[in-house]
């Protein structure tokens, strides 16, 4: 599969992952603002293993989606449009997304 195709499908998958995580995120947001106990509950939830794993996935999704999106917008303005340049930026996006996820995994543990 060409590298750009990987970036593109990753962009779509990360988008769907993020969209799916929004309702839960909104719930936690609301809970954390209700009162001190709610806040403590949210902080507590972030300690669980399953949650940390999911958080790393969401961080990857956010990073890949934002970087891929930035790449899209730059090409809207004709920056990095020709194929050679587009391939390089696709590599960068793919790699950077994974690096951020790795970093998040390290920080979380």
């Amino acid at each position: 599969m060409p590298v750009g195709a990987l970036t593109s499908i990753g962009h779509r998958i990360s988008g769907v992952v993020l969209a799916a995580s929004v309702p839960l995120a909104v719930y936690l947001f609301g809970l954390s603002l209700r009162d001190a106990r709610g806040f403590a509950q949210v902080v507590g939830v972030f300690g669980g293993f399953a949650f940390k794993a999911a958080a790393v996935l969401v961080v990857w999704a956010l990073a890949h989606h934002m970087l891929g999106g930035a790449r899209h917008m730059l090409s809207d303005f004709d920056v990095g449009s020709p194929l050679r340049a587009a391939r390089r930026s696709a590599w960068l996006v793919n790699l950077a997304g994974l690096c951020v996820a790795l970093l998040a995994a390290v920080l979380v543990w």
């Binding site: 750009g4 195709a5 499908i9 779509r12 899209h72 090409s75 449009s81 194929l83 050679r84």
Partner: protein, 246 residues
């Protein structure tokens, strides 16, 4: 050379299957088409399209080791073995490597692929400056081989609704031709429907596989910008050295 070629006889087979071949390469087997023709001499049931044998007619477009390309300009020495040859992905298979190009050409015809100018023709020709002519560079060279549309996931999901990179690069060729008078109509046709143009997600597989090095994805970008009313680029489209299957 070892090859695995997709075979399908609609009268006998339920589904396409790969058949292995092994053939001794000779000095004149420069391109994959040379090998295929010698294989056909041995097994006359092997079916594929071919014509010009020099990369300008687009007949022998096929999927070689996972990447679309023209067999007549794919060097044998670059190919990983066993060479897996499949028909163009996403298109209905008629037989072996023959695919049904009806839908593909329907999309092409749907973008009005001819100059529309109702003004009476001048004495000699409709004039166009060199700068205006340059805008067509990178689009007019399309040979309608189908490699691009056949490698485009958006086209796979909606071949009846999304025009596809080939159709759209041809649409570009007419939208940006200074002699054409139907520009508004062409743009409206692509703008009014969420599918015809806008299914393009800039995946860029089209530019990757075009055997002429064209970049339909950028033609599509330019059409989008023109629909949005943004000032357009002065030059033609980029063309890159084609990347053959390996």
């Amino acid at each position: 050379m070892k090859l695995s070629i997709s075979r399908y006889d609609p009268e006998r087979d339920k589904a396409p299957h790969l058949q292995d071949y092994d053939i001794e390469l000779i000095a004149t087997d420069h391109m994959l088409l040379d090998v295929l023709l010698r294989l056909k001499a041995q097994d006359s049931t092997l079916s594929f399209r071919k014509s010009c044998r020099e990369g300008v007619c687009g007949s022998d477009a096929m999927n070689i080791n996972g990447r679309n390309g023209l067999a007549c300009i794919t060097r044998t020495r670059d190919l990983r073995e066993p060479v897996v040859i499949r028909p163009l992905p996403g298109f209905p298979i008629i037989r072996d490597l023959f695919v049904d190009m009806t839908q593909f050409f329907k999309q092409y015809r749907s973008i009005t692929p001819y100059l529309v100018n109702d003004k009476p023709p001048p004495e000699r020709e409709r004039l166009q400056s060199p700068a205006e002519r340059d805008k067509l560079n990178g689009a007019y060279e399309c040979i309608l081989c189908g490699c691009c549309s056949s490698q485009c996931p958006s086209y796979w999901w909606n071949p009846d609704k999304f025009v596809g990179p080939a159709g759209l690069i041809q649409a570009y060729r007419f939208i940006f031709d200074s002699r054409d008078r139907a520009t508004e109509r062409r743009l409206d046709d692509l703008d009014n429907d969420p599918y015809r143009l806008f299914r393009c997600r800039t995946i860029m597989n089209c530019a990757e596989v075009c055997p002429k090095g064209l970049e339909p994805v950028h033609a599509i970008e330019r059409i989008r910008l023109k629909i949005a009313g943004v000032t357009e680029a002065a030059a033609g489209l980029d063309v890159h050295p084609p990347i053959s299957p390996t």
